[in-house]
C-alpha cells in the first residue's frame, strides 16, 4: 500500500512537472516570437527615422500592455471560476492555438510564405524610408505611431496568451517564468540582431506554439465540460503527440497538392 501510494505521488509530481514545462515553453515561445516581430518594427523605425521616437513609441505601448495585464488577469479569475473558468480558458487557448497551428500547417505545406522577422524588418524599413521625416527639432509623430502600434498589437496578443495560460490552475509561475525568459532572450538577440534573427526557424517555432496552446486548450475545454482525463495531467503529452500527428498529416496532404502562393498570404501572426 505504501509503495503504491509513493508511486502515485511520483506520478502526480511527474505530471505536474510536465504541465509546468509545457506551460513555460508555450509562454516563452509565444512571447518571444511576438516580441521579435515587435522589435523588428521598432528597429526599422529607429534605423530609418529617429531612435528617440521609436523607443518612446515602444515604451508607451509597453506601458499600455502592462496596464492591460494588471486588469485582465484578476478580472478573468474574479469573474469566472471552477469548470466555467476551465472552459473559458480552454476556448481562449483554442482560438489562439488553432490559428497559430492553421498558419503553421499552411506554411509547412507551402501555401503561405515562411515567417521571418528579419524579412519584416527589411520590408518595414524600406516602406519607412519612402516617407520624409519632419525637420530636425520637431517630434516625429509618424515614426512614434508606427512603433507604438507595432508594439501594442504584438503586445496585446502576448498579454492575452500569458493571462490565459496563467489563469489555469498552477499556471501563474510557469507562464510568468516563460515570459521573463523570452523577454531576456529577445533583448539579448536585439543587442546582436541581424544574424541570429535570420537563422531562427520561426515557422517551426510558431507551429510548436500552436501545438502547445491547442493541447492546453483541448485539455481545459474538455475538463470544463466535465471530462476527467484518465491520466490527469499525464494526458497532456498524449494530446500534444496527437495534435503534432494531425498537423504533420495536414501539412503533408497540402504539400502533395501543389497550388500557387497567394499574394498577401504572408502576414505573420
Amino acid at each position: 500500500m505504501a509503495t503504491s501510494g509513493r508511486a502515485g505521488r511520483d506520478d502526480a509530481r511527474h505530471n505536474d512537472l510536465v504541465a509546468f514545462f509545457l506551460t513555460a515553453v508555450g509562454a516563452a515561445l509565444a512571447c518571444g516570437l511576438e516580441m521579435l516581430e515587435a522589435m523588428a518594427i521598432v528597429l526599422a523605425v529607429a534605423v530609418s527615422r529617429r531612435p528617440r521616437e521609436a523607443v518612446l513609441g515602444a515604451v508607451a505601448a509597453a506601458a499600455a500592455c502592462g496596464a492591460l495585464a494588471v486588469v485582465a488577469g484578476p478580472l478573468l479569475v474574479a469573474q469566472v471560476a471552477g469548470d466555467a473558468l476551465r472552459l473559458v480558458v480552454g476556448v481562449a487557448l483554442l482560438l489562439f492555438g488553432l490559428e497559430w497551428l492553421r498558419k503553421g500547417v499552411l506554411r509547412l505545406g507551402g501555401r503561405r510564405t515562411r515567417s521571418s522577422s528579419y524579412a519584416e524588418f527589411l520590408e518595414e524599413r524600406e516602406a519607412l524610408e519612402a516617407v520624409v521625416p519632419p525637420p530636425e527639432g520637431r517630434f516625429d509623430w509618424p515614426g512614434w505611431t508606427i512603433a507604438f502600434k507595432g508594439v501594442l498589437l504584438e503586445g496585446v496578443e502576448v498579454i492575452l496568451i500569458v493571462t490565459v495560460l496563467a489563469a489555469r490552475p498552477s499556471g501563474l509561475a510557469p507562464a510568468l517564468a516563460g515570459a521573463v525568459v523570452a523577454l531576456v532572450a529577445v533583448i539579448a538577440l536585439g543587442a546582436v540582431l541581424h544574424r541570429p534573427l535570420r537563422r531562427l526557424p520561426e515557422t517551426e517555432l510558431k507551429l510548436v506554439v500552436g501545438l502547445v496552446l491547442t493541447t492546453f486548450g483541448t485539455f481545459f475545454a474538455a475538463e470544463g465540460l466535465g471530462v476527467h482525463w484518465p491520466l490527469g495531467d499525464g494526458a497532456l503529452p498524449l494530446l500534444l503527440a496527437a495534435w503534432a500527428a494531425v498537423a504533420g498529416a495536414l501539412a503533408l496532404a497540402i504539400a502533395r497538392s501543389p497550388a500557387p502562393v497567394r499574394a498577401g498570404a504572408g502576414a505573420a501572426p
Binding site: V91, L94, L95, R102, V105, T218, A221, A222, L225, V227
Partner: protein, 65 residues
C-alpha cells in the same frame, strides 16, 4: 475593431465557428450522456475529433482558394 477581431478570432471565420460547433456538440453529448459513464473518460477525445475537423476545414478552405 477589425484588427481586434483578427487578433482574437483569427483571420478566418471557419476556425472560431468550428471551435464553437465542436465545443457545443461535446457539451450536448455531455447533457445526453450524464456526468458519469463513458463521457467522463472519453469525452475529451470526442472534443479532440471535433477540433481536428474544424482545423482541417479551415486549412482546406484556404487550400481551395
Amino acid at each position: 475593431m477589425r484588427t481586434l477581431r483578427k487578433l482574437v478570432l483569427g483571420e478566418t471565420w471557419t476556425l472560431p465557428v468550428g471551435i464553437a460547433l465542436a465545443v457545443g456538440a461535446t457539451g450536448a453529448l455531455r447533457l445526453a450522456a450524464g456526468d458519469e459513464g463513458w463521457f467522463a473518460h472519453a469525452g475529451g477525445w470526442v472534443l479532440f475529433g471535433g477540433l481536428v475537423l474544424a482545423l482541417a476545414a479551415s486549412v482546406g478552405r484556404q487550400r481551395r482558394r
